[in-house]
Each structure stands twice: as C-alpha cells, then as structure tokens.
Assembly symmetry: C2
C-alpha cells in the first residue's frame, strides 16, 4: 500500500517539468507537445499517481457536488427516483451527497448546513418538511421534485392529467359510480392534482361520484384496515352498482384489490380498480393492476438538466441569474392492465 501520495510536485521533479505543466497536462493537454504529453503520461504510471479532487475543488471552487434530500428510501418511488438521479452521473459528472430525511425540520436543516459546508453547487429536494421559501434563501440553485414549490424551480408529474386519464378510463368502463380514495393532500403539493383531476372529469361527464379523503395510515396493517372498512362502506352504499375506484397509489390499490379478491375469489366485474405510480406492486399483484405510470427517469433527467443549467450559469464570470421560476410538468402514462376492461 503506497502510503505517501504523489503530487504534481513529485511528477514535476520526476519529469523535470514545472507543476504548472503537469496541471496543464490535465486541464489543457493540447498546449503541450505530444512528446511531453507522453513523458508525463509515463511518469503518472511510474509513480502511480492518484488524482486529488479535493485539492482541485479547493483551488477552483467547483465541487461538482449536488446535494439530495429524500424523505426515505422505503417507498419505491423515492428509491427509483434516486436511482435515476444517480444515473445522470454518466451525463453530467456531478457527484451526489445524499441525506435521507426523517420528517424532522431540525434534522433536515442540519443536513442542509452540512451540504452547504461541503460547497455543493446545487440541490435536489424531494423531502416535504422545509418550506420552499426557506430553501430558496440558501443561495444555492435548487430543484424540487413532487413537493410544494412556490419559491423554487421544480419538476413534477402532471398529476392532474394522470387523474383525468385514470378517471376517463373508469368512465369508459361504464362504471355506475366513480370513487376516489386519497388522504387529505394539501392544495399546494402537486399530488393534489389527482383529486382535482378526478373531480373535474366526473363533473364534466356528469358522472355519479364520491371523493373519500381520510387518513389511511402509514403501515401496511393500517392501510389494509382502512381499505377493509372502505370496502364495507362501498358494498353497503353502492350495492349492485359497478364501482370504479381510483386510488391514490398502487400500494392502496393492491390492498383494496386483495380484499375484494379474497372476498369473491376473483375480481368481480362489479369492481374496477386503478392505482397510481406503476410501482412493482401493481404489476405483481394477484390481478395486474391498471395504473398511471410516473415517468421517473424522465423526471429525474429533467430535474438534473434544469439544475445543471442553473449551476453552469452560476460559474460564468458574469452570470445571468434565472429570474423566473421553472415549473416543468411530465405527463404520466396510462397503463391498462387487468383491473380495468
């Protein structure tokens, strides 16, 4: 194990060049003769040089770090989003410093301070706890994904359109009554569009409908219990009617499907179900569940493209600060499987 690390000074001594020339070899190789390039290349091998980006960053101020704050990685949605963001490394070469939030403002503030201390050039925020107004005040380019975004740039799924598609599909299935089951989503988060899209579509088509908003719990057990209760409710309130249920996500949809399926030994014609997210749960359910597929890869890429643009602009000698906020929407894709006709 080589204990002493090789620096430009060592290479310079070894090749009889100056440190500057070594530096140029890395940053502007064309300014050296081919011969000298080869000399240095050989020296790097001989000495087994290991580049030191920290020193480089320290000298030129470009850390190439992007900070990410996710609420958790338990939900497939966040894990996959992180995955897709990490994959942009190949295109943009930014490195990612990641913190998993704990639904705790103070903790997340600490994370942000830590990120700033490491001189991140930008930040992608998926966590919901800290208001966008505060985020915007940190003086670092920020792109939010699927959260309240009044004061920061953002990329979101077009939740409204997704809901319209889902609801329309249920209408085409000739359902007698349409139900939307969701939690009490605040109006200022993008996911609220799922409720609004459902309502508008139902009203437009003068369809019999009901929106059920309540805390459905977080653990699987709680969700399952909520769904069981709602099933009983629907059975009583809408007997012998074809019920089209649009659930807020695939986990909920799967839970509801399981309850119905076990009750009937199959999914009866009387129930049509559609979820949201296209999470693995939907495809691997006892009956593959129709869903609205978020284009996670596209969202991640758009977010990074905006962030990179902002970060690059900032590094210019005379930066033109982006004045208007960018709020990009990515249209989700309706995925028809077996829980709808």
């Amino acid at each position: 194990m080589e204990k002493k690390k090789i620096t430009f000074a060592d290479i310079a001594k070894y090749t009889n060049f100056s440190k500057t020339t070594i530096s140029r070899y890395f940053n502007n190789p064309d300014s050296l003769t081919i011969e000298n390039q080869e000399t240095i290349a050989q020296a790097l091998k001989d000495l087994n040089y290991q580049e030191n980006k920290l020193a480089k960053v320290f000298a030129n101020g470009k850390s190439e770090f992007v900070g990410i704050i996710v609420p958790n990685l338990y939900l497939h949605y966040y894990a996959e989003m992180l995955n897709q963001i990490l994959n942009t490394y190949e295109s943009f070469n930014y490195k990612f410093l990641i913190f998993a939030g704990k639904n705790n403002e103070e903790a997340e503030r600490k994370y942000i301070q830590e990120l700033l201390a490491y001189k991140i050039e930008g930040m992608v925020v998926l966590s919901h706890t800290i208001p966008s107004k505060e985020l915007a005040s940190y003086g670092v380019p920020i792109v939010a994904i699927e959260r309240e975004d009044q004061y920061v740039h953002s990329v979101n799924t077009d939740n409204y359109m997704g809901a319209v598609q889902a609801t329309s599909l249920l209408l085409k299935n000739n359902c007698d009554v349409l139900l939307h089951i969701n939690s009490n989503v605040p109006k200022n988060v993008p996911a609220f569009g799922r409720i609004q899209g459902f309502l508008d579509t139902c009203r437009e088509h003068q369809a019999n409908h009901e929106v059920i908003l309540k805390d459905l719990g977080h653990s699987h057990q709680e969700i399952h219990a909520s769904m069981a209760e709602l099933y009983q409710y629907m059975e009583k309130k809408y007997p012998h009617m074809k019920k089209g249920i649009f659930l807020a996500n695939d986990t909920h949809a799967n839970s509801m499907l399981n309850i119905i399926f076990r009750e009937h030994g199959a999914l009866p014609e009387e129930y049509r179900i559609i979820g949201f997210d296209d999470s693995p749960a939907s495809g691997q359910a006892i009956v593959p569940i129709s869903t609205v597929g978020q284009q996670i890869g596209k969202i991640a890429r758009e977010a990074m493209e905006i962030l990179v643009m902002l970060m690059e602009e900032r590094k210019k000698r005379r930066p033109q600060p982006q004045t208007e906020l960018i709020h990009k929407h990515v249209t989700p894709i309706l995925i028809r499987r077996e829980t709808t006709d």
Copy 2:
C-alpha cells in the same frame, strides 16, 4: 444572497483575534476564555459565517466521506440497506458518496477512482462485479455486504441458518416433499448458504426433496413465466402430495403464490410457501407470505461499525493495521405468516 464568503481571516479582523484563535474556537473551544468564546460566537452571527469543510478536509486530510457502491436501487433490499446506512450519519457523522453500479466492471472501476479522488476514508460495497481481491488492493478500508468477500471484511446475513429455519418450518408443516427454487448461485457468495442450508436440513431429516436451480429471469414477466412452468412441473411430478416450497426471495414467492392462488381461488393445503427477505411484497401479498427476514438495519449498522473502527484506527499516529479479516454474520428471523401452518 451573500456573494462573498466569510473566512477565518474576516472573523479574525472583525474580532481582533488571529486566525488561529478562530480555528481553536471550533476545534478546542475550552482553550479560550468564556468571554472570548462569546465574542467570536457573536461575530459569527454578525458576519453570517458559513463553515467550509472542504478547506478543513484539505488541511487535515480527514474527508469524513464514505463511498458506497450499490448494484441498483430497484430491489427493495438494496434501497432499504442504503437507507439504513444513510441513517448511521446520526451516530458516526460520516457523509456518503454514492454510486449505483450498472453490472459493468469498467464503469464501477471508474466510480471507485472517482471516490478515491475525493479522498474517501472507507467504502461499503454491495455490488458484485469487482472481485474482492481487487477491492482490497485500493488501500482503503472496505466492508462488503452480502457478496463475495474472500479478501475484504464483510457483514452478511446468516443465509445458512435462514435456510435451516425455513426448511424446518416446512418440515413441521408435514410436507411430503420439499422443494427449493433458486438460481445458480456461485458457491462463494453468501446467498449460496440458502441452498446448502436447505439440502443439509432435508438430508438430516431424510426428507423427500428436490433443489431446482435455473435461470429464472430478471423481469417480472420472465420470473412469472418461470414460476408458471415450475408450477406445472410440480403438479405433474408430485400430485396429491403436500408440497413445501422454499423460494430464493419474496418476489419469486409472490409470483408462485399468485399462480397457485388464481388456479385454485385460494392457497390449498397442498401447497406451503416460504420466501426470503421480508420485503414489502411478502406482507402485502394476496396471502401474507411466510419469509425469512433479513435484519437490514442491523447489518447496515454492523458494517458501519466495522468500517468506522478501521477508519479511526487508520487516523492514529501509529495505526495497528487490522490483520485478520472480519466476517460478521447476522442471524435472520423467521417470520411466520399465512402461507405456512
């Protein structure tokens, strides 16, 4: 937006102390009088000082960075492991630089070079592509999780014990034949223990058994098709016998369960099923699936504890290099749900 960043020099000027004293305020505050501490604290607020860890790291060489290489975040297992590792930040204060591998040796080598360039103090490797011998040669403390680990420290689930527990449960269920379905796991990766544990337990109890090792595919469709085929195979080969099936993971188990359930409208007594991992899929299946629960949180913590120990040792003036490899095993927990009696 404060454009000019405040440095120790600014604070020193503002307070009429020297830079050294400012540094001491952060690293050894007790060496200052209370009075002076307060003076400096006030100055920090007045000037809105933002610490610069990069400069600190550059000066003292302790980056507090740990590199992580995961194969992907699509599988819940890796996502949750990453989650748990990230959570150790609260305890150890190490920051994580993360790369998602692409099953591509060259790409992962590039990632490792990048990590080394950022002067990571240690590395947690979950990816399988690069041999442990090469990993060990990079001169950085490394802990592997659930992968080939001949030349590096590691923390793994006790796969053998997990398989013994699963198989024993099937035996207690009075199955006439025991089947283990898995892919062709190499002998040198920890997961091979699942096969060995199954075999040893069956032999010990002189139970009728069969191990089916084949490529089951990676996409949900492929897996589903493989399972459908295996179901037909079992129906023919073991008619009217009570079949106890131990599957390599919960995704496979869920797929097999769905096939059986749809065929019979329920899970017949003739089939008993157990998976591995305790992934959400197992609990949320049409019939909650018995499984062997990996203690992901515990594994993550043990891995970081070992890594931290190694990293701290290395920072001492006269480090005592750890000579023997540590291979820690974490016992999994049998989770009995409804697919076994």
